[in-house]
């Protein structure tokens, strides 16, 4: 099958998942979608290697995470950040406060720590796998995880957490 068709088929199938991971990294749907779009471009370029990889999803996720971190490191983000308000699509939410608390708490983390959290606790990677994906040592992943959890402890107030806990209790 032609590269275009193969990549398009994969992307159409996995777009919701890519968007969710990107959203957790960026904490912003708009920026997350931009990140996904850039990821698709790179996936197209490296499709041969992606297909040869054990899991295409893992390959795509690696591109996504590294692109997120590299964009954060470069000055590009500052250049392209809009000064005005970007109209966020309305998302009817049963519990605005809780979601906002969580989003704010995670968004307050430095990008590296956020990436570690998303990889370890949302994508369920082991320390070793996360280290490989982030091109760093396992020790760095552990320390970044510990720092992120400590930061979240400080940031999150007890009330929102209780709210989350109560919602999940039967």
């Amino acid at each position: 099958m032609h590269r275009d068709a193969e990549v398009a088929e994969y992307v159409h199938a996995r777009l919701p998942w890519l968007r969710r991971v990107a959203f957790r990294l960026c904490q912003d749907w708009q920026r997350g979608d931009d990140l996904v779009q850039a990821t698709i471009t790179d996936l197209y370029v490296h499709w041969g290697r992606a297909k040869a990889a054990e899991h295409i999803d893992a390959y795509a996720r690696t591109i996504l995470v590294r692109k997120f971190l590299s964009e954060r490191r470069s000055g590009w983000l500052r250049l392209t950040t809009l000064a005005g308000d970007v109209p966020e699509p309305e998302a009817p939410d049963a519990d605005h406060d809780t979601v906002l608390d969580l989003r704010n708490a995670v968004a307050a983390l430095p990008p590296g720590q956020r990436a570690v959290l998303v990889l370890r606790f949302y994508c369920d990677l082991t320390v070793e796998q996360a280290a490989r994906e982030l091109c760093c040592s396992e020790g760095t992943v552990k320390s970044q995880t510990a720092k992120a959890i400590a930061t979240l402890r400080r940031t999150l107030e007890l009330a929102p957490l209780d709210r989350v806990g109560q919602e999940e209790r039967p």
Binding site: D4, D34, T41, V86, E88, L102, Y122
Partner: protein, 414 residues
């Protein structure tokens, strides 16, 4: 409740409970950007293994080479350009994207083949891709003066086998280039091709020599790359010849690169023909890149427009032509397609998709310019221009200023 790993998992999962807004990912735009990037990344080669000796059309051309040399005006007679020297002419500082500066005449030699030739021209470089049945496909880059410079030693990494261990090697010279879309690149010059070519300033690029670089004029470099490589002989492989060792494959590839390079013609040739003309563009805008597929199907072409001097593309007009063969009809009745009155009484059907990150319009025009169907899509490259709103408003205005000269035009911008 304490914050531990389980709590973090619950927090992240909790975000799933919020409904997701509609996607604004422009998949088509991302794929188009990938195609564009790949075209430039192929220069200098990305493969790591050697070529097997299998060829259909290419072999025919190769065997026809000497005859063409004798009689055909487009034959491979001293068309390698002018080796740099005191009397050599200078390479242009910039190219006109609408008039390709270099092309393969290879296809002139094999008119029966169903090969495709894609020419992408920017002001700094021309990329020619010859694909489909050619084994291997070739990509030719011709860089304008000053885009590529000879540089010193370079340590690089390569993998001698697909997926194999990565090794490090040292080249005594390198070529330092800077291209649109991919930025600065450095290519190791692994051997001087002089012993094959008998000329100076010609080099094999990469490992184990699957590209040939030479100075076509003072200050200007051309790189011819075999873009698809397949492994040396492995038992049981159907398309390979027993005994085709890595060494013989490499020699075969080099011979082919050398011969193909003689079919390259430099200098401004026939300008590209476009089915439409844009009578009005914003002040300071011009053509960034013109991409034309000269043969092969489906036939598509692209004109990338943007502010002059800007680094990235802003708008891309891509068009498809359906010839006299049975062609699909314009989606006049599909959802969202609106009939629009164009210049000279032409009616088209416009479909618009507008979202913050994926804005594009598609105009379908039946029976215009000698074609059954012309489909033009306008895409905005997100993040490419700080004044995105202005760019997209321009895109909306583009169609109103389209003209369709009979037989096409070589001046697509009025």
């Amino acid at each position: 409740m304490t914050i531990d790993e389980a709590a973090i998992r619950r927090l992240l999962d909790h975000l799933d409970e919020a409904p997701e807004p509609p996607s604004t990912v422009g998949i088509g735009q991302a794929l188009a950007a990938g195609r564009r990037k790949l075209r430039w990344l192929r220069i200098g080669g990305t493969g790591t293994t050697l070529l097997a000796v299998t060829s259909v059309a290419a072999t025919a051309v190769l065997t026809a080479g000497p005859a063409a040399h004798r009689g055909h005006p487009a034959g491979p007679v001293a068309r390698r350009g002018h080796p740099a020297g005191p009397r050599a002419r200078r390479a242009p500082r910039s190219f006109n994207p609408l008039v390709p500066y270099a092309t393969f005449t290879l296809l002139d030699q094999s008119p029966s083949s169903s090969e495709e030739l894609v020419i992408a021209t920017t002001d700094t470089g021309v990329v020619n891709e010859v694909g489909a049945n050619f084994q291997p496909p070739f990509t030719l880059l011709v860089a304008s003066a000053g885009r590529c410079l000879l540089a010193g030693p370079y340590r690089y990494r390569y993998s001698p086998a697909q997926g194999g261990p990565v090794r490090s090697a040292h080249a005594f010279q390198s070529l330092r280039c800077s291209f649109p879309y991919i930025g600065p690149r450095r290519y190791p010059l692994t051997a001087k091709a002089g012993k094959w070519m008998g000329k100076a300033a010609e080099y094999w690029v990469g490992v184990p020599g699957y590209a040939l670089a030479w100075q076509y004029a003072a200050g200007g470099w051309a790189i011819l790359t075999a873009t698809a490589v397949i492994p040396a002989y492995t038992p049981g492989a159907p398309t390979q010849e027993p005994g085709a060792s890595a060494r013989t494959n490499q020699e075969s590839l080099r011979t082919r690169l050398e011969l193909f390079s003689q079919y390259v013609r430099f200098g401004a040739r026939a300008p590209l023909t476009f089915p439409f003309r844009l009578d009005r563009l914003p002040l300071g805008w011009g053509v960034r890149e013109a991409i034309v597929r000269q043969s092969g199907r489906p036939s598509w072409s692209e004109l990338v427009l943007g502010p002059r001097g800007g680094r990235s593309a802003a708008l891309a007009l891509t068009w498809y032509r359906a010839g006299p063969a049975p062609a699909p009809a314009c989606p006049a009745s599909s959802r969202g397609a609106q009939p629009v009155r164009l210049a000279a009484g032409v009616t088209g059907y416009l479909t618009s998709t507008a979202s913050p990150a994926g804005q594009h319009q598609v105009l379908c025009v039946p029976n215009v310019g000698g074609t059954k169907l012309l489909i033009i899509s306008v895409n905005q490259y997100t993040g490419s221009d700080p004044s995105g709103a202005f760019v997209f408003s321009t895109a909306f205005g583009v169609f109103a200023d389209l003209r369709f000269p009979p037989g096409g035009t070589t001046h697509p911008l009025g």
